[in-house]
């Protein structure tokens, strides 16, 4: 018996033949799952995951947002995400670096 797969393609694409990049969901392809979302000033955010997770950060300035990853001083270890001033962060369950 073959294996079972759940797939949803994006609008306009054939789910049976399209490339992986044109899928919305596939049980064979992992997706980012939010662990912690927050915002704050310079300092550390304890994430409690015991491994180094994937993360996005974006800075705010003048009422606007920056592109993800533009702050060279942001870092993450197995305990804390370290951020700069006026930063929004998304910490994901993906990780293991």
């Amino acid at each position: 018996m073959g294996k079972f797969v759940v797939k949803i393609s994006q609008e306009g694409f054939d789910v049976k033949t399209c490339n992986d990049k044109d899928l919305t969901l596939s049980s064979e392809l992992n997706q980012l799952k939010n662990a912690i979302i927050g915002s704050g000033g310079a300092g550390t955010v304890a994430h409690g995951l015991s491994y180094i997770p994937m993360f996005f950060t974006s800075r705010q300035s003048g009422g606007n947002g920056s592109i993800i990853g533009d702050d060279p001083n942001v870092s993450c270890d197995a305990t804390n995400l370290t951020i700069g001033a006026s930063t929004k962060y998304y910490i994901f369950y993906q990780g293991g670096a």
Partner: protein, 137 residues
Amino acid sequence: MPFVFKLSLPGKNVSSSNPQDFVFNSRLGSVKIVQQPPNKTAQSVTVGASTTETVTIAHNLGFIPLVMVFAEKSPGTGKFYNGYAIHGGSEVGDVTLLPIGGGTYVDANNLVLVFQNNTASQKIVQYYYYIFGDSAT
């Protein structure tokens, strides 16, 4: 009684309590891509020698979204960088994407990219972006 929709990763039990064991779990939020370039194809902008060029991408989400941008630092190489690296990073390229405060920003309606040509000749810069349906504030 709440209903939950879960898909476990291959080899993992869908009854697992470890969030890492799931492709999808309706109890866990996920960032969502709402906009990419047309036809999911890298876009190009021509930047004159020693000048800047502004690209405005309308998203009209009504809130400031997370955005990710990839661009060539050395046009024509096909090597794309993102984040701090395309703002200059530790090695300024032929082209720089100016940082927030210097021109590039995202607001509730548009993603505005300002490319600076650091050379004495015109450059055609390729770039790609993801706009997420998730707040950056």
